[in-house]
Each structure stands twice: as C-alpha cells, then as structure tokens.
C-alpha cells in the first residue's frame, strides 16, 4: 500500500496531499492523530472513487498558518481547499473524529457543499454519558493505542505505530498533538453550538462508530443520530475509535454502500 504524498500549494498553504482512484471525488478529512499514510480503507474506496486526503493545516507536512485556531477555521479552510482543487460540489466526504466535527460544522452552514457525509467517531458533541478522552493528559503513544480496540491485532496500527519510533516519527506525533491543542483545547473537543445546529443539516449522513471506542463515547454518536434528520448510525463490533484503520474492509464496504445507495 504505497501511495506517496505530494506537496501542493492550495488554500493559502503548502498541503501534503494523498490522492488516488477514479470516479466521483471523495474527500477525507482526517482526525486529530493525522493521517499516517495511504490506508487500506482508502485503497478499497479508490476502486470506485477519486479519494482525496489532504493533511490538514499543521498536520503531516502541511504548513501551519497561525490563524487556524479553532474548528471553524479548519472547516473554512477545507472548503477553500476544495475550491482550489476545483472539486465539483456537492462532494462526498468522510470526516474522522476531529475531521468529522469539521465536516459537521460545514454541513450546518453550507448545505450544498456535501453530497453525502460520513462521520466516523466524530468529535464536536459533548456526550451525556462518559467523557471524551483527554489526549493531553497522556502520552502520544497512550492516546494512539487507546484509539484502537486491539492495537496489536490491527495491521494499520502495527504498520504505522507498532515499532519503536524514530525521532522523526515521535516529532510528528508531538506536532499533531500540538496542532490539535491549538484547535480544540477549550472547550475540549466539542462545540457549545453545534448540537443546536445539527437539526438544520440536509446532507444524507452516515455515522460510523466502533463499539469499543474509548476516545469518543458512543453516546456522542447517538446524539448526532438523533439530531441530524434522516441520519443513520452503524456500530462496528470489536472496533475502537478508528474504524477506517482497525476495520478497513468493513468500513470501506459500509461507506461504499452508503454512497452508492
């Protein structure tokens, strides 16, 4: 699975971009842990879609503009990026965790931007039961491991984070933590307004959660589901916070069926 990223100039910054496949565009907005490579799930989806995975500002090798200080900034940046790439809208989107929150924010203000939306273990909503795991009180490795139900059983975890890290890899994890901190420190990983705006969303929405998500409680997913009209929540068994990495084939199948339906 080797699809090396390239650097392009877009939306005011240098963007690390991974892109492959053919078909309608499918934009992926990654989460707070960054995107470590061309994932198996992307490869599956690239059989039917033009899968577009930018590293968000401050993640990977994408440069960090000082003005990105919150999720609204991130969301605005994503729409600018899509315009700079001449993506035909409405576009299909997968938003993972923090990226899911950004996607939901976009859907609340720009109903014609997305065709269909997949939110995966999305941040943005404070659960009524449980709490969103606080990455900043633990080490980078602890947070990554916790994002998987069974990290050692996940080929993606083992491939990207399972060996002893080089100093460059450790730096990248820390860089992502810092960028997430800049965006979502307070209120931590949630919005006080989003929940009230979700009923206004008109985008067909699939919510995907891992049953054993130890980062974003499944209760957040249920709140999303109740609030977004005609949305559906699918829970994947034996799976943690990152179904796109821990259950790549199942995840890709779910997404493909939803987008085709």
């Amino acid at each position: 699975m080797n699809n090396p990223p390239r650097l392009i100039e877009a939306a005011g910054i240098t963007v690390e971009l991974r892109r492959d496949g053919s078909g309608p565009p499918l934009l992926v907005i990654h989460g707070e842990l960054g995107v470590p490579g061309w994932l198996e799930s992307f490869a599956h989806l690239a059989e039917r879609y033009d899968v577009i995975v930018p590293s968000l500002p401050g993640y990977g090798r994408s440069t960090r503009p000082d003005w990105v200080m919150g999720v609204h900034d991130l969301a605005a940046w994503v729409t600018w990026f899509a315009r700079d790439l001449d993506l035909r809208t409405p576009v299909n989107v997968i938003g993972c965790s923090l990226g899911g929150w950004a996607a939901a924010e976009i859907a609340t203000v720009a109903p014609s931007f997305f065709n269909k939306m997949v939110l995966v273990g999305a941040m943005g909503i404070k659960p009524e039961q449980g709490e969103i795991f606080d990455y900043f009180l633990e080490s980078g490795l602890t947070g990554l491991r916790r994002a998987f139900h069974q990290p050692e059983q996940s080929s993606e975890f083992v491939r990207h984070w399972g060996n002893e890290w080089t100093s460059e890899e450790a730096d990248l994890v820390e860089q992502h933590r810092e960028m997430t901190c800049r965006i979502a420190w307070k209120p931590y990983m949630h919005s006080l307004t989003l929940r009230h705006l979700l009923p206004g969303i008109r985008t067909p929405t699939l919510l995907v959660w891992g049953r054993e998500d130890a980062i974003t409680p499944i209760d957040s997913g249920e709140i999303y589901q109740r609030a977004i009209p005609r949305s559906q929540l699918v829970v994947i068994e034996n799976c943690g916070h990152m179904p796109e990495m821990e259950k790549p084939a199942e995840f890709a199948r779910l997404v493909a069926d939803f987008l085709a339906g």
């Binding site: 900043f136 009180l137 490795l141 890290w165 450790a170 730096d171 820390e174 810092e178 997430t180 420190w185």
Partner: protein, 309 residues
C-alpha cells in the same frame, strides 16, 4: 490576563515599598497550563503579548485600546502607575528554554536562571550575550541572575550530608515532580516517573516547550546532571561546603558566569530549622562578604578560580 492583576498589582506593591519592587515575568510551568486550563500551545505567544501590554500600560499614558491576538481590551487605563520611571526593573526567570533567553536579551531585561547546572548556565549567558551583540549592545552583569541550591554548614562533611535535603525535595532536582526534570523527561518520551511527582506529560503538555528546549544542548547538560545526588553536586546544581570550600566554589561559579545577582536557595525539603538558620548565618557573615570582594574572571581576565577538590 486582565490588566488589573497584571499591571496594577505590581505597581501597587511598588507604592507600598516606596519604589523598591523588581518586577518578574514567568511563563508558568507546564502543569499550570492544566490547572488554569490555559492552552499550552499559545503559552509563549500569550506571555510575550502580555509583557508588551503591561509594559505599555506602565509607560504610555492611558486610556488606550489593546486589540491583540490573545488580549482584547477596550480601555487600558491603570489607576496606579509605578513610582520608578520609566518602569520598575524587569526580570524574567527561566530554566533553560533558549527562546526565553533570546527573548529576554532582545527586551534587554534581566534573565534569572532558576537552579540550572553550571555548564548550562554558562551556555545561557553566552546565548544572551550573542543576541545582545547581534542587537548592538553589551549586557552588564545585572542582566544575569543565578539562583543556586546552596548548603553551607560549619564543615564540608556536615554540609554534604545536610545538602541531601536539596535533592529529591519539592524543588527542581532529582524528582519527576520537579519543574525542569519532568519537562525534560517528558520531552524525551521516557516514562521517567521515579518519585511521587505528577504524570510527566503534565509537565510538558503539547506545544508548551519547543523541540529545541527539550533536546538542545542545555537540556542535555541538565539531564546529565540528573539521576543522583552526587551527579547534581558535580554539575553544580547543588553547592555544598564549609565556608572556605563554598566560597571557593562560588568564586568559580562567578568567574564562569558573572551574574550580577546571585541568589541562594538555602532551604529545601526537610532540612532542620537549626541547620537552615546556621546556614543562613554563615552565608551572611562569611560567604557573602567574601564574595562581595570577588570580581569575575570574565571581567578581570584573571584565571578562573579552580573548583575545590
């Protein structure tokens, strides 16, 4: 940071003391970012902006408006201004962040080294002087302060044993709960909890320390001196001795770093009250008078006083 405590309180204190206050600016430790829920990734930006705002509030007649990145104040108009003009002396205190040292040099304010190893402090002084040289000015000794764990007793042996209280206490040395040790340990990815201190990640939350501060030369020098009481003694993190020995040690320290302000951290941990009082007495009667006579080799060009064997 409202201007009330930021600018007015030091000014009020200054009035109460008849204009004798030295103001000090610190970033706050990593763990304080958690206890105050202040975003650590913006700590330095906020610190520098707050400093500029307070300095302006002290020196520019109000009312004025402040629309910064982190602070937004419609009307800045302190009702209490400092007696000292243009403003009280300003110090910044730090452990070893090279960014803070360079920033202090650019602001031409005193940098107080908080209990760092001798080699690291000498490097810090060099960095400060390099930045000053780039900016076209020459610092005086009064631009450097040095706070050192100090244990003086009547004999070398007694001081060495009593000095153990300075290691692994509430302070910065040898304990993961300490300020510098933990921040550095966290920065290296080591679990590093050796004592009852807080989680190492809490001392260096994301973005609080730069990569250079975690892994640079001064950080390395600091780490080398951690690990044991003996290592801390060797590195000059803790200075012990009877009066004659400790005077010679401090002459060596002055010769190498030329601090305008030498501050003794003379009590720590469970050091008994009587020993503490005796140490302070010896400092006042014997050590300080002897050191007052001594001029730095960096200034006089004389040889550096050897470290006593």
């Amino acid at each position: 940071m409202p201007t009330e405590p930021g600018a007015v309180t030091p000014a009020l204190d200054e009035w109460l003391t008849g204009g004798r206050i030295i103001s000090g600016f610190v970033r706050g430790t990593g763990i304080e970012q958690l206890s105050t829920n202040a975003n650590p990734a913006y700590n330095r930006e906020r610190f520098e902006e707050a400093f500029a705002l307070i300095k302006k509030a002290w020196t520019v007649p109000g009312p004025f408006r402040w629309e910064g990145k982190h602070y937004h104040l419609r009307v800045v108009n302190p009702w209490q201004l400092p007696l000292q003009k243009p403003h009280p002396p300003i110090w910044a205190a730090g452990i070893l962040s090279p960014e803070t040292i360079r920033w202090a040099a650019r602001q031409r304010i005193t940098y107080l080294v908080l209990g760092s190893a001798l080699d690291a402090t000498a490097t810090c002084r060099d960095t400060y002087h390099e930045v000053a040289q780039e900016d076209g000015w020459v610092p005086t000794p009064q631009h450097l302060g040095y706070l050192i764990h100090t244990c003086v007793m009547d004999t070398d042996e007694e001081a060495y044993e009593m000095g153990r209280h300075h290691y692994g206490g509430a302070s910065v040395i040898g304990r993961s709960g300490g300020i510098a040790a933990s921040a550095l340990t966290a920065g290296t990815g080591s679990a590093g909890v050796t004592g009852g201190g807080p989680h190492p990640e809490w001392m260096a939350p994301p973005g609080y320390m730069s990569k250079q501060a975690k892994t640079g030369n001064m950080a390395r020098e600091r780490r080398m001196s951690e690990g044991s009481y003996e290592a801390a003694i060797r590195a000059g993190l803790i200075v012990t001795g009877g009066p004659d020995t400790i005077i010679q040690k401090f002459k060596h320290i002055i010769d190498r770093t030329d601090p305008g302000y030498l501050t003794f951290w003379a009590r720590e941990g469970k050091k008994p009250h009587e020993a503490t009082m005796r140490g302070i007495e010896l400092l006042g009667k014997e050590v300080i008078p002897a050191l007052r006579e001594h001029r730095s080799a960096l200034v006089t060009g004389k040889e550096v006083t050897p470290w006593p064997q």
